[in-house]
């Protein structure tokens, strides 16, 4: 199959390319990127008119929850990856907090086999740091690396014991993988919302911003001490951005990400007691949201991840403090991220960089590029198309979103994986 994408605005942050070009895809690779490509044997080529649209490398999410094995009622690898390609993601890193936990080779192999059989996108498992993510004994990281994990994380909780974290960071130096840390001091964060004015007036127990910041500082200092690769995930506070900004001046093995909800929503939303606004770490203040945007603009924050956390409605249809945390985010992440472009925080190339080549580099994978010879994971999106979020239309099993009914600007229209079309929106006519 050959695909010719004509006259789109081709953006490839890896090569700093941004111009109107044609893209020819053949045999799973980017064959050519040039103006006015003429193809012989037109009959065997799918031609897509991308005039006015953006052609970008497929998006890479380094933080999502596919819930399989163990929580197939929340999501499966099949539905999660379908949700991904619909949202423009061609590669996913799925967290280890499944049941059983992905803390050994057989679970890693199971995930990869299911992804190969049923997946619509690429799936890269993230292994646990410790057995059962309990924070006590190291998991068999080497075995999992051999099986195919691309990172380790006890996501959902921090590695509480600093000595265990130190050993994990030391140990992974023999592998090309980072440790992804969910930073939250477990003793200071027994609540479910940001501590501040809104925890005061709702009576919901608060987690102070310092619960995150203290752990960010601890983790990056340990990483620097043992000179190992650390990535802080889902940053939500001003202090965390400041800590990483400072650390980056002296230590080059620290990176971080944030999620669309941390630059879109504030703690004010919880006043409705709607558990769709419950996430972990919690939604923060306006000042934190500003700092997250500054961090994105300055490059302190390298990556945008989704923290896609699908849940069945029953676990959200509860009192706020006992409802599950998380947002089903793969299908809204691109549009919410594009608001950074529309607001002038980031230009399109820098925005796409945080969704493609930066995550690819974190996990050492040869994706996230759109230059000649690259693997053909490509999307075509309209940065201006307006649409209304309807959770009932999500491909994900998780209908838990605070954005239901929101009018968003920017929509993925076509997803190509390995040179094949795996998703296309009816708004984009395809001529074959």
């Amino acid at each position: 199959m050959r695909i010719l994408i004509r006259r789109g605005r081709v953006i490839d942050p890896a090569t700093n390319h941004d111009a109107e070009k044609d893209v020819l895809i053949e045999e799973g690779r980017i064959k050519r990127v040039a103006k006015d490509i003429n193809v012989r044997r037109r009959d065997r080529t799918i031609v897509i008119n991308a005039k006015g649209l953006v052609v970008s490398p497929g998006l890479i999410d380094i933080h999502c929850h596919l819930r399989e094995p163990g929580f197939e009622f929340k999501e499966t690898i099949e539905t999660g990856t379908l949700s991904a390609v619909k949202g423009g993601f061609t590669s996913l890193v799925c967290m280890a907090n499944t049941d059983p936990v992905n803390d050994n080779r057989s679970v890693t192999e199971f995930i990869l086999r299911k992804a190969k059989e049923e997946g619509y996108s690429r799936v890269f498992p993230c292994g646990a740091v410790t057995k059962g993510t309990k924070g006590e004994e190291l998991a068999e990281i080497g075995e999992m690396v051999a099986a195919g994990i691309v990172a380790i994380s006890d996501d959902g909780r921090p590695v509480r014991n600093a000595s265990v974290l130190r050993k994990a960071l030391e140990y992974i130096k023999i592998f090309p993988i980072p440790l992804i840390s969910h930073c939250e001091d477990p003793d200071l964060s027994v609540g479910c919302v940001n501590e501040g004015f809104f925890s005061l007036i709702t009576g919901l127990e608060g987690n102070p911003d310092i619960a995150e910041e203290l752990m960010v500082i601890r983790d990056i200092r340990i990483a620097r001490y043992v000179d190992s690769r650390i990535h802080i995930t889902h940053l939500s506070t001003r202090g965390s951005v400041e800590a990483i900004r400072e650390e980056k001046k002296r230590f080059n093995k620290v990176t971080c990400d944030t999620c669309p909800h941390y630059f879109t929503l504030t703690e004010e939303s919880i006043i409705s007691f709607d558990p769709n606004f419950k996430v972990n770490p919690p939604l923060r203040s306006k000042s934190d949201v500003e700092a997250i945007k500054e961090g994105l603009k300055e490059g302190v924050i390298d990556i945008i991840s989704t923290d896609h956390a699908p849940h069945e409605m029953a676990s959200k249809d509860l009192e706020f403090n006992i409802a599950s945390s998380g947002i089903s985010g793969l299908e809204t992440a691109l549009a919410l991220s594009l608001s950074l472009y529309h607001e002038g925080v980031l230009d399109l190339k820098e925005l796409i960089r945080k969704l493609t080549i930066n995550p690819a580099r974190l996990i050492n994978q040869p994706y996230g590029m759109l230059c000649e010879g690259a693997i053909a994971d490509v999307i075509v999106f309209d940065p201006y198309m307006e649409w209304v979020v309807d959770r009932e239309k999500f491909a994900s099993k998780g209908k838990n979103t605070p954005f239901h009914g929101w009018k968003l600007k920017g929509k993925n229209l076509l997803t190509i994986l390995d040179g094949k079309i795996v998703y296309h929106d009816p708004h984009l006519p395809i001529d074959s």
Partner: protein, 307 residues
């Protein structure tokens, strides 16, 4: 003034006019409880369910008596007898109750926002009888009613609230209520029981009890909310009592006509000494008496009789 709300979930969202309307209606109902036959037919044929997921004597009895004096039928459900222990969610419990067509559901729950969950999904009127550390609106209304009765006004007062402010829904509802009428509100307690950002509610925070009670018109004592973790914020109850227990000497530092209030249940010898609880300035039992009239008013207004 017309009552338009379907539910009573908190004081924060009420206007001064709505609060005054409740007091006015309560005033007229107070007399009913003094009659020989303590019943009016106002809510005949209406059904009121009290759904209590936390222990309560005063509030539940008060709501039940209020409903009965208005001739409504009442059903009491407490967590121990409900299907909650069988694993049913609050939403399902609520939908099941709604199928039996009650007119009002009075709910108490240890989780903030539980009444809001019911209000979102049910057609019945919901009354918040206390939700975690969020609000306890009828308590604040009956407190305001009692203050007006005793002081003759609900403005230009200096009100001191002493105790576990961090975990108290009564404190929050009273702060909103008293501040709406421009009163000076002072909150006092150990710093670990004062929630961050409390000053943003327009109150003054005093850590020393002597400074907090000086020239007060009203002193409200609150208990330590053991069930919400109040104890872990202080070294010991004994030490708390020595620093924040309300004694005669504190009462004497207040205005001559100070009134002493407590929402109950009281822990004598801890936040309040016998000499104060049973002393001449105490209006604690008046609060309980007025609770019935205020809750009659709320039920009456919610059931559409308020035009």
């Amino acid at each position: 003034m017309e009552w338009k709300r379907k539910d009573l979930l908190g004081i924060r969202e009420l206007s001064k006019e709505e609060i005054l309307l409740v007091l006015e209606v309560a005033e007229s109902f107070k007399e009913v409880s003094k009659r020989d036959i303590k019943k009016v037919p106002t809510l005949r044929g209406k059904t009121v369910i009290t759904l209590f997921f936390e222990p309560s004597t005063r509030t539940r009895t008060s709501f039940e008596i209020a409903a009965k004096r208005l001739s409504a039928d009442t059903i009491n459900i407490s967590a121990s007898t409900s299907s909650v222990t069988k694993g049913e969610t609050l939403k399902d419990t609520a939908l099941n109750l709604e199928s039996m067509r009650p007119d009002v559901i009075v709910i108490r729950h240890s989780y903030p926002g539980a009444p809001h969950l019911l209000a979102r999904i049910l057609k019945s009127s919901i009354v918040n009888a206390g939700d975690g550390a969020h609000e306890h609106p009828t308590q604040a209304l009956l407190d305001l009613f009692t203050i007006r009765e005793k002081k003759g006004r609900i403005e230009n007062l200096k009100v001191t609230i002493v105790g576990d402010i961090a975990h108290s829904r009564v404190a929050r509802s009273n702060i909103y209520c008293l501040r709406k009428f421009g009163n000076e509100v002072i909150c006092c307690g150990p710093p670990s029981l004062i929630p961050p950002h409390l000053d943003s509610l327009g109150v003054r925070v005093e850590y020393k009890l002597e400074n907090a009670v000086r020239d007060a018109d009203v002193i409200m004592a609150l208990r330590i909310q053991k069930e919400r973790g109040g104890i872990s914020s202080i070294p010991s109850v004994r030490e708390y009592a020595s620093l924040y227990g309300l004694r005669k000497e504190h009462v004497s530092m207040a205005k001559d006509d100070v009134i002493i209030m407590h929402p109950g249940p009281m822990n004598r010898g801890i936040e309040i000494m016998d000499e104060v609880a049973d002393g001449p300035y105490s209006v604690i039992l008046d609060q309980v008496e007025n609770g019935v009239a205020v809750r009659m008013a709320i039920l009456y207004l919610l059931l559409g009789k308020g035009e």
